[in-house]
Amino acid sequence: MSVQIWTYLLVGITFAVYIGIAIWSRAGSTKEFYVAGGGVSPLANGMATAADWMSAASFISMAGIIAFDGYDGAVYLMGWTGGYVLLALLLAPYLRKFGKFTVPDFIGDRYYSKTARSVAVFCALLVSFTYVAGQMRGVGIVFSRFLEVEINTGVLIGMIIVLFYAVLGGMKGITYTQVAQYCVLIFAFMVPAIFISIQMTGNPIPQLGFGDTVADGSGTYLLDKLDGLSVALGFDAYTDGSKTMLDVFTITLALMVGTAGLPHVIVRFFTVKRVKDARKSAGYALLLIAILYTTAPAVAVFAKTNLIESVHNKEYQELPSWFKNWEHTGLLGWIDKNGDGKVQYAKGHVVQGNKNKPVFEKEKRGQKGERIISNVNPASENELFVDRDIMVLANPEIANLPNWVIALVAAGGLAAALSTAAGLLLVISSSVSHDLIKKMIKPDISEKGELMAARISAVAAVCVAGYFGINPPGFVAAVVALAFGLAAASFFPAIVLGIFYKRMNKEGAISGMIVGIICMLLYMVKYKLGWFDDVVPSSNEWWFGISPEGFGAIAMSINFIISLVVCQFTAKPPKEVQEIVENIRIPGNAGRPTHE
């Protein structure tokens, strides 16, 4: 069977399963809609959290980013896993004991203030919307690549599917579809990785394989070989990296703290039965995430070595067929700068302008049959353009794996993108229906009315996300990575202080959150988007060499300091609030909220 038929088959089956689950798990009450009734088992919640967490970016792009960043890729690996330790130890059990529905619920009640709740709602919407637009785009890209439909049609199909199970099932529907999506995506990621590990090193476990010797019997370690290849081509050694230590440190910290502060992740821990289950399910979640996150660096090493060996200094006309297939999609490209008919891979950008992506001339072909690229960068000798996503997408073909494995990668990528989009949409809809309508605008709304409002806001959120997916504003891609900085700068300090510092009051928390998020937004707008200047300022102008991605760590520290200072000069929180804090610190009776 051809790849195309396999892809339709596998994607069709998985979608049928998701829809079936959605019909089976309809939500009948707001409690089911917001937190799946609060009775999800720790393992199921762990799987749902893992699927929620791992987006199209984790599945498709991460291994590629690591392949090109080498050691520096560790910021994502550690940053996006280490946050779960903070979540498990500092947040999840206490928020579960608190026993309400959303993050703004906690902020609003703990800081006895509508202002605090509004600030939290604003931050939750800001973080979730920046994040979800990228996901819908991801759904469209995966569809277009594997099913050969237009990206926009892909976004529409994705919207309809998500709409179906998010609106019908709420958190309950999302939770059980995410369990299914986790199984699909992890299987799809591991199968090619194991095959390739065996081919390259003879070791079936990728995590061990990339530290093993190359299978050609020479006794050379794979990593030494890749270090050698990289240096020979003029790059830094793969295992060394090129970012400064301070930058690596702050980015890792910002990602970790941001992970722990993301509302769509936190809210998953409201769905289990007891405090004990919240702790345990954080453990399961990280274990299940770690399976992919420890495999990705191995895939990166296999793919990078494979790519250099099979392409560098080879005659273009003798390259294997996968090169031409992916050149056709625009993810690979070659410009014969020195006219020798061979592909030379070197440091520097192949092309210039157009965000360093090649501009292909439609049908025109060069002397050797290659696609013609118009924006050549003559300053670099590099002749090979490689899109980072290719490292996961093309891996099965590069390694000559059967057609069903290639189709599996498509189903996995879709599962990853859809599960994350659904989780984010739920946060958006509950922020609107619960935090805004029920808690602030119309407190006397009936249970039925609130459920209806939740469904309507979910529909609206899907449409907005779909709109941004079809017409992505230029800044979305840049901002998605910074959603973590925003979460780190706003929620994390307010929640941690709310639990661990009884004296913390509303004045401190509100001023901390506002100053924190403003600092982050300003730094981001100035150094990432460049709206204050004519061009985006270069990295030499960053404060202490800290990149916008890493600035979240600084903004978080500013939030902590402001909160603590302001709180010393203002009134203590009222007695009832101090009692709430005492109450959330001890487990037991988590079936009921700590207060009404």
Binding site: L89, D212, T239, T252, K276, A282, G283, T294, R585
Partner: protein, 87 residues
Amino acid sequence: MTEKQKIANAYWKENIKYLFILLSIWFVVSYGAGILFKDWLNHIRLGGFRLGFWFAQQGAIYTFVILIFIYVRLMNKLDKKYGYDRE
């Protein structure tokens, strides 16, 4: 202070002690071994891995998983000790 509050305070103190120990390990394996002392650890080899690189891309993640499960065990025991395990 009532008897109930005393129990709650003692429980909280032990909880904080565990958090301190576990988060210290969390910091040491990631920021310590994976970032600050990476170059120094890279002189040591673990099969084909240089140790600092291994911590940054593998070891720290394994340790995170283990840390959470140790925390789960410790807290379950602590809940039992203070009688918070009954729902």
